[in-house]
């Protein structure tokens, strides 16, 4: 429920956490752990790295929380913005050593090689297609459809206007559609 709208309980937790209450912050962490992890995983493509980065993001949130004010910016969008910055920083420090494309692990949800191949083929193709896109395109698609954020929240997370996000998503979907078709052609 928290992930859809800021409840009173969430606001109280944020207030307590901002005042230094670690347990309240722990509750927020548990609530947002999976969506933030999922977002980061889709951006970095490697499980262990995504776990490390998720923890790092929440450490940064803890440091910045006393500066957070509601002011119409939803906590969730603010959280994703910090996650976005962490991913960008991470990409900048890692880009010289490891190519992003090589980091995707194929075993997610696998019960065995054959089952994986059958069940995840389309998803895997889609992920590969996603990876070929411009970083901004990846960002907007992951935030919208993987993280399930509204256009307004994506705008906050990406530091753009809502109109720009809609236009970006429009172009990103077109690019993904073409890239996905190419990936399908490749394996045929």
């Amino acid at each position: 429920m928290w992930l859809n709208q800021a409840s009173t309980e969430e606001k109280q937790l944020i207030k307590k956490a901002a005042a230094g209450d670690k347990n309240a912050f722990g509750d927020l962490y548990v609530a947002y752990l999976q969506p933030i992890y999922r977002y980061i995983y889709y951006r970095v493509g490697q499980k262990e790295e995504a776990e490390d980065l998720t923890e790092l993001v929440f450490l940064k949130v803890w440091e910045a929380l006393d500066g957070y004010e509601h002011r119409g910016v939803p906590f969730k969008a603010w959280l994703y913005r910090i996650a976005h910055n962490a991913v960008v920083d991470n990409y900048r420090t890692q880009k010289d050593t490891v190519a992003l494309e090589t980091q995707w692990s194929l075993e997610d949800g696998a019960q065995g090689p054959e089952a994986t191949a059958m069940a995840n083929e389309r998803e895997e193709l889609l992920r590969q297609a996603l990876l070929t896109l411009d970083p901004d395109y990846q960002e907007v698609l992951v935030l919208r459809f993987v993280a399930g954020l509204s256009h307004a929240d994506v705008a906050v997370a990406m530091g753009r206007s809502e109109g720009a996000v809609r236009a970006l998503q429009y172009r990103a979907l077109g690019a993904l559609r073409d890239s996905y078709a190419e990936q399908q052609q490749r394996i045929m």
């Binding site: 670690k22 999922r38 500066g67 949800g109 889609l126 901004d136 429009y170």
Partner: protein, 448 residues
Amino acid sequence: MAKNKQVEWRYRHDGDPASFEQDAELAALMQLLARSANVQPSPQFQRNARRQLLEKLPARASPEPSWLAYLRNLWQQGQIPQRTALAWMLLLLFLFTTLFATGGAVYASADALPGQALYPVKLGVEDWRLWLTEDSLARGQMHLTYADRRLGEMEQLLATGNAAGIQTAADRYIQHTNQAQAQLAPAVANAGVMALTNTSQQTFTHNELALVSLIRQAPPESWGSLNRAYATTANAREAAQVVLLTAAADDQERAQLQLQFANERLTLAVALADLGRTTDLNQVLADYSQRVELASALIWQTDVADGLLADWGVLLSHHDLVLAEVAQRAPIAASAAIAHAREVSQTGRQVVEAIRTGEEIPGPPVQTGPPVDPPVGPPVDPPVGPPVDPPVGPPVDPPVGPPVDPPAGPPIDPPGGGRPPWSTEPGGPNPGGGQPPWHGGPGGPSRP
């Protein structure tokens, strides 16, 4: 084939980006995206995540100060005489009463706006916290946070049309931005400084956009203070970018940064086009063109991984689409600058493709616009671009009122400083004799 498909797709959806949701094929793709988002952290990580994070959290506000624990220990051990204990209790009662009254005011002041009675308390607490912070990096971060608060206050004050309040908040915003910028040019650029610089660059870029949005909504009497805030932010952002470019490990990273900054300029260009700010739009587009030209020159003379080149090619294609969007929204007086930016972007893409395929670049040299000046940093002076009409909407520049402090970053050469447009080193030789280094004419320099 794929291109035709994309053209057909655009045709079907042109003019109504939202209509893609009714496209069966794309709807299926979106559903697939959402359905495939089932990845989860490992069970072990999930099990221990909370405990491990809480162990790593630094204390912010200790529930029991150490001196209190010390006193309690003494009391429990019977080392405090009864009369002394009574005196202590009275003293503590007095202190708590005073603190409660003061703390209440401080707490209540958190939402205060300029012009309200508790606003000075709010600023006083912030100043006090800054004064108590010895670490210059932490102080820089605090200045960024407080500048962000002032922006928020300006947003709230817009609703009331309180021009005097906006000016107060804008003046404080300028102070904090200048102070944050001052932390970016230390004697030693260590990892902490670079992290702060990176954060500052992103924040300043975001604030520039936010201020354009504010100017769009603000009453005329607030334009002066908001313009100054905008100009200060632009200076600070440029200074941060110069530090990042100077500290870049190699030309590849420098090219990557230039493209990133060019990308951010385009985002601002879209907002300025919407606002009808021709002068600023021309300046931003000139900055964009210069960065892409410099990135292209760097890419040309550096060995770049093929995967990265492909990314840059895609990015520059994306720029072309955005510029087409800007062209649709912008005043006619910005047409020349937009056309130049598109030409530069397309040439950049050709450079990338030429490197990937090993072919020569066709067509005339790309340097068709005004001469560019700084080698790695952004321009400070207004671009010598095409003539522009006077602004139609709220003016963003030139700033009105007291002068804005100059950036504390590395010095940026004045226009016409004698460096060739394609030089990528300060004072370095011009590899193309006034032409881009990839120019394939007779006797022209070849790619290293």
